[in-house]
């Protein structure tokens, strides 16, 4: 019976189309071979919440906000390859509740004092919390003491706000062709470190024009003397929702060399 059905010509045609599509929340989305679920979703204008993902950089799969439900199994959309016929749930109350909990944990682990942060309004973590309707941190605050590195003449590193997404680590290696940042330590000891003899930014290869200096989604890596050029109320997420596709202001213009 099954063989008879697949031999049917019209069924074969529909099988062909299905080969290149996945379904997210009931919407059929095409994909190309090698694309992840996130790639396909973004290309189709479908928003899957994410913090550690940026198109053009190697997927990291660490923030776990992009976890989706694939036939009752959870997986990170940014690392899971799209496979024909996948039935994916994304914007569900259960997943969004889990995303809110993850975002709350990010807030209470670091020192995210929005009123005193110059990234306020441009911060993807803050915008994510708004997107999810987060009203409080829920968990006890860690109030961890983390080191500030103001040694560099033009770039500031405030680890209080670092969410360990490794966007700067990957941008430095994959786009800037340098190796300025790394995450050291594990668990609550995990922290962003700088690749220089002194461990200070000033002695690293980081330059203002590097993507790594601009890619931070929170207020951990900041360009000095520019924090309030755009006034509060006119910043990215004052004017846009985080769920709008293609908001990345930074275009990955540098081409990776074959030997990099």
């Amino acid at each position: 019976m099954i063989r008879q059905l697949t031999l049917n010509e019209s069924d074969n045609m529909s099988a062909d189309t299905k080969q290149n599509t996945i379904t997210i929340d009931g919407q059929e989305i095409p994909f190309l071979a090698g694309q992840t679920i996130m790639d396909a979703a973004l290309a189709a204008g479908v928003y899957i919440p994410h913090l550690c993902h940026r198109q053009g950089l190697t997927p990291h799969g660490s923030c776990k906000l992009c976890v989706v439900d694939i036939a009752s199994k959870n997986a990170s959309a940014c690392t899971m390859p799209a496979v024909a016929g996948q039935q994916i749930s994304n914007n569900t109350p259960a997943l969004n509740e889990a995303r809110t909990t993850i975002t709350q944990m990010l807030f209470i682990e670091g020192n995210h004092i929005c009123p005193s942060c110059e990234k306020c309004g441009d911060c993807t973590l803050q915008a994510m919390a708004y997107h999810l309707g987060m009203l409080d941190g829920h968990f006890p605050q860690f109030f961890q003491r983390r080191e500030v590195d103001a040694s560099h003449p033009t770039v500031m590193l405030d680890r209080d706000r670092c969410i360990l997404c490794e966007l700067c680590v990957r941008a430095s290696r994959e786009v800037d062709g340098k190796n300025v940042f790394e995450i050291a330590g594990r668990g609550t000891n995990a922290r962003l470190i700088v690749n220089s003899a002194s461990g200070k930014l000033v002695d690293s290869e980081l330059e203002t024009s590097d993507l790594a200096a601009h890619i931070c989604p929170v207020g951990a890596i900041l360009i000095k003397e520019s924090g309030y050029k755009v006034p509060i109320g006119q910043r990215t997420f004052d004017l846009h929702k985080v769920s709008e596709i293609g908001l990345e202001k930074i275009v990955l213009t540098k081409v990776r060399q074959p030997d990099e």
Partner: protein
């Protein structure tokens, strides 16, 4: 119908949330047809009577804050954490990265322009806590109203919801942390 009774206080806060509340301006007149204020800086009533809603601005930074907060929890049916400091400690909680002695010495002994340096030690002064805490570390909190400060529109929305007998909620355009 008797009016809804509201009490408000500022713990380790700057009274900015209270100022923002007053930004309702003429809308306060309409609100006061439905609510009356009990203990609050608006009334100067010193202790909290039995109330329907308690609005707490500021985090918990000293022993007096703890007593006041517990008085509010004991007397208010619904307790709302108002503003960044009540919700996560806010700017005062930035002292949590240092020990208390370091903070006091920086302010009263080694600070620029300090004359007759000494750490205040009057019995009238409430003892400082080791750390600044969000209020939900000390008492149960029913609802959260974020913002630094929350806008008058946010106060009106959350009080309007409660007066209508509904669970308070903030629409996306009113939700902000700064």
């Amino acid at each position: 119908m008797s009016k809804i009774r509201i009490a408000t206080t500022s713990l380790a806060g700057c009274f900015g949330c209270h100022m923002s509340f007053l930004d309702m301006d003429e809308r306060l007149v309409a609100l006061l047809e439905h609510v009356e204020f009990n203990r609050s800086p608006f009334t100067d009533i010193k202790h909290c009577g039995s109330c329907d809603i308690g609005l707490i601005e500021g985090g918990v930074s000293n022993a007096e804050n703890v007593h006041v907060l517990r008085e509010f929890r004991d007397n208010c049916k619904i307790l709302i954490a108002v503003g960044a400091c009540a919700i996560n400690g806010g700017v005062p909680a930035m002292r949590n990265h240092f020990n208390l002695r370091e903070c006091l010495e920086e302010a009263y002994v080694n600070g620029a322009g300090v004359e007759n340096p000494q750490i205040p030690n009057d019995v009238e002064l409430p003892l400082l806590l080791d750390k600044v805490h969000p209020i939900h570390d000390v008492v149960r909190v029913d609802y959260y109203l974020p913002g630094c400060p929350p806008s008058a529109d946010e106060f009106l929305k959350i009080l309007g919801d409660l007066l209508a007998g509904e669970a308070p909620s903030l629409p996306y355009n009113l939700l902000h942390y700064d």
